[in-house]
């Protein structure tokens, strides 16, 4: 599992957004708006982190239970999958 190449993560709209630049050759792909935690997860993912590493890093950065951290990671990954921004290997 990795973030599709060409996905731009940037600050905008009072938070963060992920935009697929590679898909723009044909149409608007739909942008994902994210809060700070989600952006943190997506940035780690773009650096090549796997699912377990994402949970560990969220636990290190935020005061959260393992269950809550895992739920956050799952939610972010689901949103990215729905938008076609993740490539499963």
């Amino acid at each position: 599992m990795k973030l599709k190449s060409g996905v731009i993560i940037t600050e905008a709209a009072g938070g963060y957004v992920a935009v697929d630049a590679s898909a723009a050759a044909g149409r608007f792909n739909g942008m994902i708006k994210m809060n700070g935690t989600a952006a943190f997860i997506v940035k780690l993912l773009s650096g090549g982190a796997d699912e377990q590493t994402l949970v560990t890093k969220v636990l290190e950065k935020y005061d959260a239970t393992e269950e809550a951290a895992k739920e956050s990671v799952d939610n972010v990954l689901s949103s990215l999958r729905r938008a076609g921004l993740i490539e499963d290997e």
Binding site: I8, A12, A13, V17, V19, A21, A25, G26, F28, M31
Partner: protein, 495 residues
């Protein structure tokens, strides 16, 4: 119920239709904000001074008063107009049998009403036309003023958000206006649509930034000097990304590197749309447009000389090949460009939003003496003062705006209109001068259309003929020429 077909269909099964008033042409009788008209199918004879609904060849429905009844045609005129219009009788759909003025119903045979008709129709040439500012105009200005100030605007229960949204789109300011829309006041469906449009503007802005960074990265590597222009600089003055919509990325580059730029652009998948004239135009689907300027104004235009030596005055940024114009040059370029469009096809409200922010954020602390001197030498001082005053009125004192302040701007839309271009052209050159200038374009312009002329100038007469042939046989050019002729004729009739 607001199109020709549905009204005609309704009148087949229904005895009457209640129709909302649009526009100001039937003032003072009918006001678009409050009044309605009761329409019935045309059954008997049409009479002089009846109010009737007809359809124009463009498909637009119009409710005006009949001034003359002929066998094949009737002559119409709105109560708030001075110019009559000839209409084929078969284009007349319905006649008005009464009017709803708020709660009150006034039948078309009411004594007071008939007295009004006598008065209003006595001498249409001496009528004082009422210039009422349409609500959508002031509402859009309120939204934009609030958005520029980071606030929300409450427009009132009777605000017609559909109209405001359409106007905002026409002026390419819907993403900005959306920032000030009150979610509780705007109809939910429209709010969603408007929000999605604002998201698309943001997405486009992010994609433009990424693409431009990649292209300019190549310019840096190849040491092709460049200066970012217009929207891509101005957008940074807005409070949030995606607020300032723009269609093109304008960049000035070292014209001696044209072929290197061509190689960079085409290797990135761009089509070269035009490589002649002031700028090279490149396009890549779905929306990537780059206008890469070799010079800021053409040699045969008034502002060319003001920008000679621009590279010498520009400041180098970072270690790459980017340069930045001085504030005085940037402002002069903005105003010169503004003036060129304003006196051509017209400019919309977005220019005024830009000007307002440039004055507040970019030149508030700049050297006014240098700015004033450059504006004065380009002959733009008076224009700059006038548009600056209007921008201040719009966003700092909107209650002081008049119909005349807003009419030209609101009718122009983002890119101006052909009608304005023709009228302004006639205003500057006279009818004959304008016609001549359209028939015989400057040599430089023809060279841009037919680049072979630069190598073989003797082909000029053939190129002139080719242009006329194209105007006859190419549908797009033929339609434009036809429209231009119609506008000229109307202008002549009006005078």
């Amino acid at each position: 119920m607001n199109d020709q077909k549905s009204i005609k269909e309704l009148l087949v099964s229904e005895q009457f239709v209640i129709y909302p008033i649009k526009g100001t042409s039937m003032l003072p009788l009918l006001d678009e904000d409050h009044d309605l008209v009761r329409l019935e199918k045309v059954t008997g004879e049409l009479k002089k001074y009846d109010v009737a609904l007809f359809v124009r060849p463009s498909g637009a429905l119009v409710l005006h008063r009949i001034m003359e009844v002929g066998k094949k045609y009737c002559v119409f005129c709105g109560d708030n107009q001075k110019t009559p219009e000839k209409v084929r009788r078969d284009a007349i759909i319905a006649t008005a049998v009464g009017f709803y003025k708020g709660e009150k119903y006034i039948p078309a045979d009411d004594g007071e009403y008939l007295k009004y008709v006598d008065d209003i129709c006595r001498d249409i040439s001496s009528r004082e036309v009422i210039k009422k500012i349409p609500r959508a105009w002031t509402a859009l200005v309120s939204l934009l003023g609030a958005a520029l100030d980071g606030k929300t605007a409450t427009l009132g229960d009777d605000a017609n958000y559909e109209k405001i949204y359409a106007l905002a789109c026409r002026h390419s300011v819907s993403a900005l206006a959306f920032r000030a829309v009150d979610k509780n006041e705007c109809p939910q469906e429209l709010y969603k649509k408007w929000s999605a449009g604002a998201d698309r503007a943001l997405e486009k802005d992010i994609l433009f930034d990424a693409e431009r960074a990649a292209i300019l990265g190549e310019f840096d590597r190849e040491k092709i000097n460049y200066i970012c222009l217009k929207g891509i600089v101005i957008k940074s003055l807005y409070a949030e990304r995606g607020m300032r919509e723009y269609a093109d990325n304008d960049i000035l580059y070292d014209a001696s590197r044209k072929s290197d730029v061509y190689n960079i652009m085409t290797s990135r998948g761009y089509d070269a749309i035009s490589l002649e004239g002031v700028h090279d135009s490149y396009h890549k689907a779905p929306f990537y447009n780059f206008e890469l300027h070799k010079t800021l104004f053409a040699k045969n235009t008034p502002y060319y000389r003001a920008f000679e030596g621009i590279w010498d005055r520009a400041e180098k940024i970072g270690d790459g090949a980017e340069y930045k114009m001085t504030v005085a040059d940037f402002y002069l370029h903005f105003i010169a460009h503004f003036s060129k469009h304003f006196s051509g096809g017209g400019t919309g409200v977005r220019y005024f939003c830009d000007l307002y922010l440039i004055k507040k954020k970019l030149i508030a602390d700049a050297d006014k003496t240098a700015i004033d001197a450059s504006l004065a030498s380009a002959g733009l001082r008076e224009f700059e003062e006038n548009v600056s005053l209007l921008a201040e009125k719009m966003f700092d004192a909107p209650d002081t705006l008049t119909y005349d302040d807003l009419y030209y701007i609101m009718e122009s839309g983002t890119y101006g209109t052909l009608s304005n271009r023709v009228k302004n052209g006639i205003g500057k050159k006279g009818k004959a001068g304008y016609f001549f200038s359209r028939m015989f374009l400057p040599y430089e312009t023809i060279c841009n259309m037919y680049p072979i002329l630069r190598k073989v100038p003797v082909l000029l007469p053939f190129c002139e003929v080719a242009r006329l042939v194209e105007a006859v046989f190419k549908k797009e050019k033929r339609n434009r020429a036809k429209m231009e002729m119609e506008i000229m004729k109307k202008q002549a009739d009006h005078e």
